[in-house]
């Protein structure tokens, strides 16, 4: 039998986090370096997982399943597929990046911070690889609490408010989801066995009304996480007040959990209800895209601006998912990864600048290129990736999403396109104010550029921005079979009103290779 690679990936951060408690907290270099070294282990393990992952299979892979609570039908089951594999890698990559970049940001209780970040990684990974509904729910709720402490202890001035708001908002959604989970499991037990296994639950027989209620029970929890307008108000506060590391994990992985939830649970479990929700979800996505962009524009605070840009970008992801065709869905899944990379990069860069100047006010800066050219040029690439310039990761994702969306709902896609333009506008404007022009603020004259450690932390983000932009095929190959499977499931359940499988035009075929022909 192969080594249970997913279990190793999942449990290593927790074990290391607890081990870290045994490491002396002074001098701070010791826990810093140990934590960084520890965090590389799950990353390399997940590279091994990527090697074992079979790109031609759409089903869950590397599955591991053990009885946990036999009388209650709960099993400890893990697995990955095209929806989760890149998010797992993103999570294990971002943790070492964050730990490396936080050396100058976190100045008190450093060891505890590192422990919380590792525990948070454990929670996020658990939610991604769990394929038992009970286990998923457990981790979904669990990952809240490390973040609660990270924001509350190391956050900005309004951290108590922000962290309570974050937790309570998310818990409100989760509360409804738990009821829906149990209802679903009991409904399944009426006709079959008592089980929390996701793939078995896909085939539960439900009335249309039950489907609708359960769909919304799940969907509201996911919509809060995404976040979709009007459930997004926790995001700006949490992002802004969180320390850099917290913002990165929030933007990079936690938000994706919402979209992932739709792909893994809400759509395949309740296909008909998901179809009925089409106007609502698409409408809210478009509203989110435009509204997020418009609110981001005038923000004087860099982190707040990026936070609102997330609302806009996450709207694109939901739009792609709700295109219900292979192109849009694959684009949405890829865009989840892209947004994780770009927004994390932006938060990291802003965080590094904040460490030096202790302000996030855009007006404080100006002409930074003169003093920090390396920072400015990395910022340029990551920002262009976020805007979606051809050749960067954002372009591939947004292009596919819009392509799929045009096919499914042209009007929505047309409006969403303005979000791309607005996105370019607010990010470029911010960049112009910060970087270009003469050095306006004399306090910035002695500003230090990024050092080698910080460049090392940013290097993977920079590299992925370009790699995904230039060679997306490698990533899409592993996503598409699972997308295909989801669409087949929707078709089989009769939710075919919006599902389309357009023939691939020549231009698109160049971008999205037909996997079967290789």
């Amino acid at each position: 039998m192969d080594a249970p690679i997913l279990s190793l990936i999942l449990w290593s951060p927790l074990v290391f986090g607890l081990l870290l408690l045994l490491v002396p907290s002074e001098p701070v270099a010791v826990p810093r370096r140990t934590a960084f070294a520890f965090s590389l282990v799950p990353f390399f393990l997940s590279l091994v997982m990527l090697g074992q992952f079979d790109p031609s299979v759409g089903e869950l892979q590397l599955v591991q399943s053990v009885d946990w609570m036999p009388t209650l039908g709960v099993r400890y089951s893990l697995g990955v597929d095209g929806f989760s594999i890149w998010l797992v890698l993103l999570t294990t990559l971002l943790t070492p990046v964050v730990l490396l970049a936080s050396w100058s940001d976190i100045r008190h209780r450093t060891r505890e911070f590192m422990v919380f970040m590792l525990v948070l990684e454990w929670g996020m990974l658990g939610a991604l690889v769990a394929i038992d509904l009970f286990l998923f729910f457990l981790f979904w709720e669990l990952m809240l609490f490390p973040m609660f402490f990270v924001i509350g202890i190391w956050g900005g001035e309004r951290r108590y408010y922000a962290t309570l708001k974050f937790v309570l908002y998310t818990m409100a959604g989760t509360a409804l989801m738990l009821v829906a989970v149990l209802y679903l499991v009991l409904a399944h037990a009426r006709t079959g066995t008592l089980t929390f296994d996701i793939t078995s639950l896909y085939d539960t027989e439900l009335s249309r009304l039950e489907q609708t209620l359960l769909f919304w029970g799940f969907a509201i929890a996911f919509m809060i996480k995404v976040p979709m307008v009007p459930l997004h108000t926790w995001l700006a506060d949490a992002h802004t007040e969180a320390p850099t590391g917290g913002s990165v994990d929030l933007a990079g992985v936690l938000l994706k959990m919402g979209a992932y939830g739709f792909l893994r649970f809400a759509l395949p479990m309740f296909p008909l209800a998901a179809q009925d929700a089409f106007p609502v979800i698409v409408g809210l996505s478009v509203v989110g895209i435009v509204y997020g962009a418009m609110v981001a524009f005038p923000q004087p605070d860099m982190k707040r601006l990026i936070a609102y840009s997330s609302v806009s970008h996450m709207g694109f992801i939901m739009l792609g998912i709700y295109a219900f065709n292979p192109v849009g869905l694959s684009g949405g899944v890829l865009q989840m990864v892209n947004h994780g990379i770009s927004t994390s990069g932006l938060f990291l860069l802003v965080g590094l600048m904040h460490d030096r100047t202790h302000t996030r006010e855009i007006s404080y800066y100006g002409g930074i290129w003169a003093v920090a050219p390396i920072w400015s040029s990395i910022f340029l690439v990551v920002m262009l990736g976020s805007i979606g310039l051809p050749g960067t990761n954002g372009f591939v994702g947004e292009f596919l999403v819009l392509m799929g969306a045009f096919h499914a709902h042209p009007w929505a896609a047309a409006i969403a396109t303005t979000g791309v333009v607005l996105g370019a506008a607010y990010l470029l404007t911010m960049y112009k104010h910060i970087v270009f022009g003469p050095l306006t603020n004399p306090k910035n004259e002695r500003l230090l550029d990024v050092n080698r450690r910080e460049v090392a932390a940013l290097a993977p983000i920079l590299a992925l921005t370009l790699v995904i932009g230039i060679y997306p095929r490698f990533f899409l190959d592993r996503i598409e079979p699972t997308v295909d499977q989801l669409l087949t499931r929707l078709e089989k359940a009769g939710a075919t009103r919006y599902v389309t499988r357009p023939g691939k035009p020549a231009e698109l075929a160049a971008l999205v290779p037909a996997r079967h022909h290789r």
Binding site: L72, L142, Y160, T163, L176, V179, Y183
Partner: protein, 483 residues
């Protein structure tokens, strides 16, 4: 009718009770004639031994078909669950008291036998299958509790708590007796078996009235709204160690008795009493949680939180099924661990002359006492219902039972209440972990007994969170033997 026979079944059924009571009287006599007033350890160890003996006797002599005194008392699965749960709670509170009583300056040795008497009452309540026996159990449990609430004689709040508890308790007893009388009048029986047999024919105004009176009486003991008005003052005023026992042990005995009586005995009237309990539950949990938000005193906050949890327990009963009864049993177990734990931390933080009960007294506790803060965090998260702790599993089974019984609305309300409760439980965490200490850290007094209790309770909170089926399966079987 109680027959003349007093055979093995009878001896076995009252064995745990007898052990506890014999020890209580033994300690009383020992203290009166031989005890050294300076020696606090002998009565403690004797009473701990007595409780352990009672629990052990329950484990040895229980059997699912137990039936004693002509069907009025049993040591069956439910009774065993009650005995172990209440015995454990009393056992732990005794240990805590060893460290806590000197802090508040209570040297009254009667404390220990009184704890035994109240435990004896709980044991009777857990096994009662006759309303008269239930009444005896309630009174035996309550009278020592009235005294215990006022045992801190120099503290006027303690006296107030005792008096309030007594007066309102007497009131509730009256309701109970009227209820029993009405049941007797309507069905001609006070035994549960007799009532169940007579019920289908006897359903009428008298039975519904009796039912209402019993809901009031048991709701009072379990601090369910709208019969909860005594609870905040009594819980806050009593010595913390007694509060811990009242919120856990007394509530457990009342809820288990209610579970047996309503779920099993009044099954034919299920449609009537589930409606009542539905409203009681909705009101109790919402009121408890909303009012708890406004509290700045941790003890009072825990008092309101305890009311909220009584609401969750009522929800489990409102499911009306054995599954709900089993969920209530498991919830009580989980609640015992986490709530005793929270109170143990409150006791450990308190100092001589300064109870340190305000929210602000917990500021920066993670810096001053990291272990204690971590323990408190664990207990509060469990009370909030966060996985993978016992409180989560317990809440899960209540929701499961409610959905199974078709009561989805109450399940949603319960979960949303959990979110509301998150606010005040998290606030304590904000104080402990995120704020700086407001005042000088007091010297740490060694309190080994309290620390042992905290460690045991943490262990239980985690263990029954990860392997809840160990206890739940037993609770379900106990109920299903009757189903």
């Amino acid at each position: 009718m109680i027959g003349p026979s007093f055979g093995a079944a009878e001896w076995q059924a009252i064995a745990p009770f007898s052990v506890v009571m014999l020890f209580a009287m033994g300690i009383l006599l020992y203290e009166a004639f031989l005890g050294d007033p300076e020696d606090a350890d002998t009565p403690l160890w004797l009473s701990i031994l007595g409780v352990a003996g009672g629990v052990l006797a329950s484990m040895i002599f229980w059997n699912p078909d137990s039936d004693a005194f002509g069907g009025t008392l049993a040591l069956d699965g439910i009774a065993l669950f009650a005995n172990v749960l209440c015995g454990m709670s009393v056992w732990l509170t005794l240990m805590m008291a060893r460290n806590y009583l000197p802090v508040i300056g209570v040297r009254t040795r009667e404390f220990y036998p009184l704890m035994h008497f109240t435990l004896g009452g709980m044991m009777i309540m857990g096994g009662a299958r006759d309303l008269i026996v239930l009444f005896l159990g309630i009174e035996l449990m309550s009278f020592p509790a009235y005294v215990l609430a006022g045992i801190h004689r120099r503290d006027p709040r303690s006296g107030e708590a005792s008096l309030k508890y007594f007066v309102l308790g007497a009131f509730a007893t009256a309701f109970l007796l009227y209820g029993i009388a009405l049941f007797w009048g309507a069905t001609g029986a006070t035994s549960y078996a007799g009532i169940t047999t007579a019920l289908p024919a006897a359903r009428g105004v008298a039975v519904l009235g009796a039912l209402a009176l019993l809901v009031v009486a048991l709701g009072f003991k379990a601090s369910m709204a709208p019969f909860h008005y005594w609870a905040p003052d009594v819980y806050q005023g009593s010595p913390t160690v007694v509060t811990a026992l009242m919120t856990v042990g007394i509530k457990a005995a009342a809820v288990i008795a209610a579970a047996r009586f309503f779920v099993l005995t009044l099954a034919p009237l299920q449609a009537d009493w589930t409606v009542v309990l539905w409203w009681v539950s909705a009101l109790t949990m919402t009121l408890g949680n909303v009012v708890a938000i406004a509290q700045n005193n941790i003890k009072r906050m825990l008092a309101y939180s305890s009311i909220a949890h009584a609401g969750y327990l009522a929800a489990a009963l409102a499911a009306g099924t054995p599954r709900g009864g089993a969920a209530a049993l498991f919830y009580l177990l989980a609640y015992a661990f986490m709530n005793l734990g929270a109170f143990a931390v409150v006791m450990a933080v308190g100092a001589k002359g300064d109870p340190n009960e305000l929210m602000s007294d917990y500021a920066g506790l993670a810096r001053r006492r990291p272990g204690l803060a971590a323990a408190m965090m664990l207990f509060l998260f469990s009370l909030m219902g966060i996985p993978p702790l016992a409180g989560f599993a317990a809440k899960l089974y209540i929701v499961d039972a409610l959905i199974d019984a078709g009561s989805v609305g109450l399940a949603v309300l319960l979960m949303l209440n959990g979110v509301v409760s998150g606010y005040y439980y998290l606030r304590v965490n904000v104080e402990m972990f995120m704020r700086e200490p407001a005042k000088e850290a007091p010297a740490i007094e060694p309190r080994p007994y309290l620390m042992i209790c905290v460690a045991l309770l943490m262990l239980g909170t985690i263990l029954f969170g990860i392997f809840p089926h160990l206890a739940l399966d037993f609770a379900r079987q106990s109920f299903l033997t009757f189903g």
